[in-house]
Subunit: 289 residues, 4 copies
């Protein structure tokens, strides 16, 4: 369960339906070309929160089928609808996903005790392991060290996908919990996670730029941090451009340029402005994606 | 479409299933006892964002059936899953709901153009009228006057449920759009909406305290604002207590005390602490609910 | 100590020095033309936090001298430098100011106990009454009802200048403390304060539009809220324009148009763009300022 | 101008007066014992924003006198009162401070153009170099890359004290401006700044724990990041305790335990609870401070 995981992108057609072959190709591209160590399925980058239960299941099934046990698979099943979270958790467990993950519930201002009970319920009902998905910028939920302490008492909570810029808390977590899995998010700050001894990193740009991320990661593992930082600079030049053009839209267009039927984003997200397509093509060439 | 609308509460059992008879009784209690003018169905107070599509439909159906055309019905169909929003919108339209309403999409940081397109799509697909549901404290989406101007160009956007404390913007909207329907939220500030010439107000506490809210509303309509303010004081004494005990949990327990099978809240929300039941009973007596 | 108070504007020259005659004229204009009931001196609108101790004293002195006991005077003496706050508090007390006021200390994240001690120290050292100056949008300090309860135990804390849009808390304060002085801020929401039984309102636009504000205030006192709301509409048309042009810059330019030597704002605030002067002149004519 | 700078602590007596000998001893302790490379004088940690102009000057003078040219000195002169900022800037320049620094103006919501003009004015009036002091958590002012681009056009703006956790922006700044001085803040994240090629770091805990910080810094310079991270772990164990006990209060008490007359904090900050003194003594022993 270590290394780089792509936060898997999912191709959609104009009606918001999954493009199955496109999804299979994205999975293969991640495994064969980007050589990532695992896939984080149905996370924010997978536009999970825009999907129906059936679509989420379809994605879990297709990815598992295409992966054929090759890389590690984490199934994000968190939902404000706890019944759905359980249903998805059971489904992914049966499919053999290596672990579940669940976003902290959002929208309503849940108390920490409610959040904790939510995780306990999913774990109890599925019997699977759980990786907390902490992403305060989208959920508004910032958990304190004391709250992580409380969650990590549960042996089935095996780790956290920590998508936050608070590297002090990340350091504290690492120090206190050497045996929990800690995955950092924010690809543009991969190096900071890597030198902090995280077990892995999960990100959306790894779908198209996994090889370079892997360089950063491997260089850090072997203590070559200065070299890693040079690669991070180059990586961030690219990420800066991608963010300017629109994150998910651009990542999918890059895949399209690479010959993968990556479709478009699902509404309410707006499709890539056609006028930007040339700029994306230029990125692919310039950064040899 | 004027007056006081209850943000309808929905009874759930311990497994998160709708208690149909309880729901029918809550509808009747709102119409017959609280004498509200309409029901806002599947809003935040209805725990809508915790439900499956089927449950949302079930609620739309039961409420419509029980109402029998007695009071006005607004169907909140907004969803991050736009396909679901359309499906719900069509369903509620067929059931004869007087208007649709849709929350601004949240979680992802949608641009205003994406938000606008989301409304246009629901309107186009359903052919029904639309009431914007603006609730920045839960969605993180604050729309400016200029953005409301842009939305209100669309004739099918007939109004806004404005659950925000920015009464300057409310005043500007009222001044600029005398013919759009403006509903204020925040029951504890009903009087401020009422004197601002809003068309109505929508709130969760009206399920149990609609009569008193009606007093505030009617007194304001006839210019007796000082008297209305005295009632608002009393109302807020109650609301303060309800908020201390837990909003939805306490409202449901009040209904339970009144003999309605209002069940409990749906997880991840935590049920009312049994130790607080006496305090709720005391509220019912003290405030003659 | 009841009624409308102008948050007194202070004329500065290009070097950030006080224009004494201009200041005297602004005081006179407020008293004689705008017919306000009092002056709130050295508040945010007086650019107080951009000034030296000597300038603050100079302003206290000039205003007191020009006022000659005509209207009520409140001296805002709050400062992160508590020694300065005390020095100013003693000075204003000697000059006969009717009450002190002090902003909640900001920048550093003071605990409530530190904030409370700050008020107690100023009160003990000056022997004068204190009006809390709560303005969360600028200070980041939002006090809860429980914290106001604790502060209001102190008899020398006679009230609060409450510049916040949380009208629920305002209502709670009014209900609980009928004998404390509550002044609302936010001129564009004057009517909401007025119907809440506040003792007065304090605002910057009253320097130029006090007469119209007075109408809103007086109409509310006599129960003519609907009429007051019509005036608030007109007032807000003006305020909307002023905010677009730049708040303090425009207010001063309006005074300049009226023949008062109101100078400019103090740096770091930027002076009114000369290209906007015509627009300001137009405002003066259109709104008969 | 490279290396570790202490954000100099200033001893105050119970009346908020500077303890001159204590200040001299803190300067010596920093230079002789902690072996820091420079002092950042009159920053937030120096309680600068609680002081009178005279006190700020007194501190600049004493520090310069005690330092005798030994280590680099940066004078923070930023103030909402631009006249004071200029006066302080001239004073520190005459005293031979190596560079000025100025906090972004806060409280009022200044536009970027106003902020830029503020820096230009200080530079023009003093003729000295300027280091931007960016500390969004206290000022509420977050500058974008484009805004830094605009500021850094000015050759007299030689760098930035960047006290923020946004390491993506830090990386972008470093990449784009290899010749500007970048100092990171947040001692608990020193390692992340150090591997980012910052020129130095400025922090309050270096007053008492500079030697350990120096280890982190030096290990990173020689590529021994894993070892540095181990030291950061130990350092953060200490910082975590200090933050629990109260930052400035505890740092001063540590100095007191070390025999330096470090006095107390200036009101409105509250003095260390005497009951915590033993815990501080214990820290000094445990961490061999």
């Amino acid at each position: 369960m270590k290394g780089l995981f792509s936060a898997l992108l999912v191709p959609f057609d104009e009606n918001g339906q999954i493009i199955e072959q496109g999804l299979r190709d994205v999975v293969r591209f991640n495994i064969d070309v980007q050589q990532i160590d695992g896939l984080y399925v149905n996370g924010s980058s997978g536009e999970n929160f825009l999907l129906s239960t059936e679509q989420k299941k379809q994605i879990f099934q297709i990815v598992s089928d295409e992966n054929k046990g090759k890389v590690k698979l984490i199934a994000q099943v968190g939902s404000l609808n706890l019944n759905e979270a359980i249903e998805l958790g059971k489904y992914a467990t049966e499919l053999g996903y290596d672990s579940l993950s669940a976003v902290t519930p959002f929208y309503y201002k849940f108390t920490f005790q409610e959040i904790k009970a939510y995780y306990e319920t999913i774990i109890r009902e599925t019997g699977n392991d759980m990786i907390i998905y902490a992403i305060p910028a989208l959920t508004g939920v910032s958990m304190s060290m004391a709250q992580f302490d409380e969650l990590f008492q549960n042996e089935k909570i095996i780790g956290v996908k920590y998508t936050d810029g608070n590297f002090f808390l990340l350091e504290r977590l690492r120090k206190q919990y050497p045996n929990k899995l800690i995955y950092s998010g924010f690809d543009e700050m991969l190096i900071y996670g890597a030198i902090s001894g995280v077990d892995g990193a999960i990100g959306s740009t790894y779908n198209v730029n996994g090889k370079q991320a892997k360089q950063i990661w491997d260089l850090c593992q072997t203590g070559k941090v200065a070299e890693a930082y040079e690669v991070q600079h180059k990586t961030n030049d690219l990420i800066e451009k991608i963010l300017e053009l629109g994150l998910y839209q651009t990542l999918k267009e890059i895949l399209n340029v690479k010959g993968i039927q990556a479709g478009t984003v699902k509404q309410p997200m707006s499709s890539l402005d056609p006028a930007k397509k040339d700029a994306v093509k230029h990125l692919v060439e310039k950064y040899e994606l």
